[in-house]
Subunit: 347 residues, 2 copies
């Protein structure tokens, strides 16, 4: 819990979810006015109407955020909810247009924490240039949810002919990751365990739409086959899903996958594999080999892409769904999807 | 809780939310495959891409559903989540294109109940002709949410020039309601109190987009000023919000507002006013007086619009935001927005 520096001790009450005058005031004073001041977003409506470009397809995505703790090194549930949904749109090659914002709040949440979260949403939305245009707020009795859950959905547009999807990886393609693996997952796990670690471990939560835009501006569109943000299940699980969807096998060089030293050390203490931990500001890119170098340069031109790396390649179609790892010791093993070992409420 | 007729006793486990193999199986076998079989919806993706008409504006809406109980006379949380978001789109005059579907599930929810809910979503989506195209599933530990919460967001399109909104009511307009008030609210309250009432009290949950379409096809578009589904806060609160947004006063004839006899009787027992109770399949229409009769005929041509009525009119601009009620006894009183009296988890 964050210390209430306002000292008012105000909390969200059941009446704030009734749909009457109290609801209206909570939403206006604590949410829509604050968002408007920060991000210039127009008042949130039950249903928003916005412009949409001609000759475009609609991209549409949704995610609920139930992360525990609400505030963690590098971010909080608010900016995470903005970045996560923008990234889901970006991974299809879409340009995000607008977001929806739905809160489920437990009676008794401090208004101070709610405002911190709303402010974080406003700043993230403003920085990304993607406005929140519609919303909903529900309040449930104490014990019926854990403080606050957030759903953001997003709409975006993309050119009619653009086709970037999990099923498009082809033998010969290079597999890139835009930075180090496991930062978000290990941050949440250590924050929850109240472990105090040396080094600067923090969530990588960040928007990826600008990186995608630059990639698509500089690489022939039909050479970009798959983009994916490896969130829950991490790098390893995302590659397994892509390999299965595309009917291909893949080979990854263990030594090429970037993992920060502090993350590796914390993972050893907790018995976790960083390649299975959630990332919230990283993208996988599967691209024709001839363009891999250019893509790497573009990724590295962004602050959150400095550690980008070419980690392996799509090997063939004989063993569809199989991802193997060439270990640093020179061996080879199957890198399966996440199985068991639940890490609940990581995002 | 619904009796598990499959007798397997299977429940949702934390591992189902990990993003790994168990998550993948739960989502595929219990959600996407079932939805696909029922509604023909394509597999749900992290981010869906669908066609969107040229020369249209984008309508975008979101709602979370936390209703308790999950199953109630006339419906359940699943069909409610489909109808509610379709209705929010329709109230702006938009044609719904697609829905997103996000579950937050408490560890221990029976798979049987999850499947009942998914099946209800599939049938409602199919019947409305609005596919679910993208989704998300989170699982939280026991005690961190109450069984299941659902968020649906929706995208729709509308012609560039269409402008139906809460701020457009004008003096002289007629105020119509498409049917009886309070049915959903009283159903939930009596179900939760485990009251057994005589008469057939059930939720009015229903989609309204077809009624809207027919209204807009037969009445000049610029004569249709406001549409609103009076959900939380009910008929009275919705009118107060519209009166404030439009800067007008309104007068309602108490005797003209349809309330079913069973609902009125249950409200008297519970000390509730049906005009402040949630509706989930009713619309308010504020339309130029000359077209009110035609609008009434159109509403009444639908099974769930048979009790539609002209309930009052927009009176002027001298007392913006004031809604008065001419009582059956011949008096007149202010009909304020809902204040206090929280009815949590009504939708």
């Amino acid at each position: 819990m964050m210390k209430d520096k306002t000292g008012t001790g105000e909390t969200v009450q059941l009446d704030h979810g009734s749909g009457g005058i109290a609801s209206n005031r909570l939403v206006r004073e604590r949410i829509t006015d604050r968002l408007g001041h920060i991000s210039g977003t127009a008042p949130l409506e039950d249903c928003a109407v916005t412009d949409f470009p001609n000759m475009s397809k609609l991209a549409f995505s949704t995610d609920s955020y139930v992360v525990d703790p609400l505030f963690f090194p590098g971010g909080d549930i608010g900016c995470l909810a903005v970045h996560g949904t923008i990234n889901d749109l970006a991974m299809r090659g879409a340009e995000p247009v607008c977001l929806s914002l739905a809160f489920i709040i437990e009676e008794g949440l401090s208004i101070y924490e709610l405002e911190l979260i709303v402010d974080s949403i406003g700043r993230a939305s403003d920085k990304c240039g993607v406005p929140v245009v519609t919303g909903d707020t529900k309040v449930v009795p104490g014990g019926s949810c854990d403080r606050i859950f957030i759903n953001t959905s997003g709409a975006g547009f993309l050119p009619m002919e653009r086709d970037i999807s999990s099923g498009n990886a082809r033998p010969g393609d290079a597999i890139l990751i835009s930075g180090s693996c496991g930062d978000h997952g290990i941050t949440i796990m250590t924050a929850r365990a109240e472990m105090s670690l040396t080094g600067n471990i923090q969530s990588d939560t960040a928007p990826l739409h600008d990186m995608v835009k630059r990639l698509l501006n500089h690489i022939p569109e039909d050479a970009v086959h798959v983009m994916r943000d490896p969130t829950r299940g991490g790098f390893a699980t995302a590659l397994n899903e892509i390999a299965a969807d595309s009917g291909v096998s893949m080979e990854i060089e263990e030594a090429a996958v970037p993992v920060r030293q502090e993350v590796r050390a914390a993972c050893e203490i907790l018995g976790l594999d960083p390649l299975y931990l959630a990332n919230e500001g990283k993208m996988l890119l599967i691209v024709e080999e001839a363009h891999a170098g250019k893509a790497l340069d573009i990724m590295r031109s962004f602050p959150h892409g400095r550690e980008a790396a070419i980690t392996g390649r799509v090997t063939g179609r004989d063993n569809p769904g199989r991802v193997t790892m060439k270990t640093s010791a020179g061996g080879s093993r199957i890198m399966a999807a996440l199985h068991g070992n639940p890490l609940p409420r990581i995002c």
